[in-house]
């Protein structure tokens, strides 16, 4: 089967974020990036499905030139080839525009299955996969915790709230958004990294795809969140802070 995995680069988890002078986005020039975590699980799921059923895994990424790093990582882990929709202003496309870009790149490939993470760790709108499915006219399921390919269909385990799950079956081709923890991530091997260098990485642009930006929601301003509580910070050495906390828990909170 032919599987496309849509991946995205996001600032590494512990980045110190600074708001840029325009106040609408972060200073992103000097940040380090990594593959969005749920997308990494989607890639792993695609690789495992290929190992089981044969076929091809294609990594798809809309991102800046620098996003080639996470694309090479996907190739090193076992994706067979990659499509990179290169755009330095990718964050200005909005989620709907982005879904149209991705869908246009997917269309000629006619995949059996499209996987992506359920949401991104930066914007966190959680809708690119679903919007892509709607644009392509394909059925979808979100927050997927297991996927089993049957004859012409796929049966998935969806996560619901508070520890509930539900199995859903739908015909292929389909789009799934993958939840973190669905599988165990692999590391790229030295051999994989070596092989990745000779794999096909095709570059595309929005112009070539014939997709224009759409007017939807825009970010007007970003700012640090307000504290909802007055936090008492306990200072000093680890030992001093620990002693203060135990005292607070005993005499202020009366919990010990």
């Amino acid at each position: 089967m032919k599987i496309i995995v849509s991946i995205k680069e996001v600032p590494v988890r512990d980045s110190q974020l600074r708001i840029d002078s325009g106040g609408r986005w972060i200073e992103d020039g000097d940040l380090s990036y990594e593959m969005n975590e749920p997308d990494a699980y989607a890639l792993e799921e695609a690789l495992q499905l290929k190992e089981k059923h044969g076929g091809e895994v294609i990594a798809l990424c809309a991102g800046r030139e620098g996003a080639a790093r996470i694309i090479r990582e996907a190739l090193a882990k076992g994706a067979d080839r990659a499509l990179h929709i290169e755009d330095e202003q990718i964050s200005s496309w909005g989620t709907l525009g982005l879904a149209h870009l991705l869908a246009k790149a997917v269309e000629p490939e006619k995949p059996d299955l499209i996987l992506t993470g359920l949401q991104s760790d930066d914007l966190g709108y959680g809708q690119t996969g679903v919007a892509m499915a709607e644009i392509l006219g394909l059925p979808h399921a979100t927050i997927v915790m297991a996927a089993e390919v049957l004859n012409g269909s796929i049966r998935v385990k969806r996560e619901l709230e508070s520890g509930w799950f539900q199995n859903i079956e739908m015909p292929l081709p389909a789009v799934l958004t993958i939840q973190s923890g669905i599988n165990k991530l692999r590391y790229a091997t030295l051999m994989g990294i070596k092989k990745a260098k000779s794999k096909e990485l095709k570059r595309l642009t929005a112009g070539e795809l014939g997709v224009a930006a759409l007017s939807t929601a825009t970010i007007e301003r970003i700012y640090p969140p307000q504290r909802v509580k007055q936090t008492q910070m306990l200072e000093g050495s680890a030992r001093e802070a620990a002693a203060k906390l135990i005292e607070k828990l005993r005499f202020e909170v009366r919990a010990l």
Binding site: F165, A217, I222, P225, L256
Partner: protein, 329 residues
Amino acid sequence: MSDTVLVIMEQRDGAWNRMSFETLAAGQRLASELGLAVSAAIPGQGIDGLAKELATRKMERVYVVEHELLHDYTADGFAKALEQLIRKVQPAFVVFPHTYQVRDLAPKLATRFNQALISDVTGIRTEGGPIFVRQLFQGKLNADVKPGGPAPWFVSIQAGAFNGEQVEAGSAEVEKFIPNLSAADIRQRPEAPFRESSGAVDLTAAEIIVSVGRGIKEKDNIGIVEELAKALGAELAATRPVCDSGWLPIERQVGSSGQTVSPKVYIAVGISGAIQHLLGMKGSKTIVAINKDANAPIFEVADYGIVGDLFEVVPALVKEAESAMAAHV
């Protein structure tokens, strides 16, 4: 007539999802500040009782979107039914609770109207036009988002952001809306929801919880928080990534996909405070955060905070707790 805020209520087998009323409160506020009317829709089957209850709230209409194919949720069935209702009502805003079902449905529906969903909204401001507040970067920053393009604009409201008790009472007209649906429209075949190994660990009864996040770095380090839990007579809990990695069993997971707890004391060790986790513990009476990053969102909800290396702070806490407990006895 784009003068309506249409609130989509969620129910399963005739029982409300409580977030529906929080969303209705948000919808009423948005409408009153912008001078719009509120209507609500309940998709499902056999929901007349719920409609009756809803008709005692302040709004224009309750749409009972009823069809046998809407008894069980499917993305295809619900999207087609609600698309038809939205084309009829022509609302300015369509507002959903940000539930797992809505995460599956609303982006599809919004795309059909050439719109993007403004998801997971925590606040609404209306000076100079509507502004929706939502989090970015896992809660590290907030963003003011302005809807754009032609209406309807689609919004989903985060759990706990509005108070469901504040829904204004009143009366509303109930109108049945029978969508044009056939079985062939629906490609998903849902099976009955189920739970896995529930109740093995009931964290909701614990007075004190010591909870651990990614900051613990590896499985071999779990022992130090176990010791702290033991010293305090607490239950041990964890965030999703810790359970995903298999460092603690999933029965100990706190958050939107795990258990929701409100102990007397919740001690968050090496937890950054992603919203999915906060949703499961922000009702705790006292929250303690121990984290090396002073800007971690967990400190926004903490009563007491220690900025420091958990590998130094936690062993020190164990020592202090043990001697305090010994003195106590």
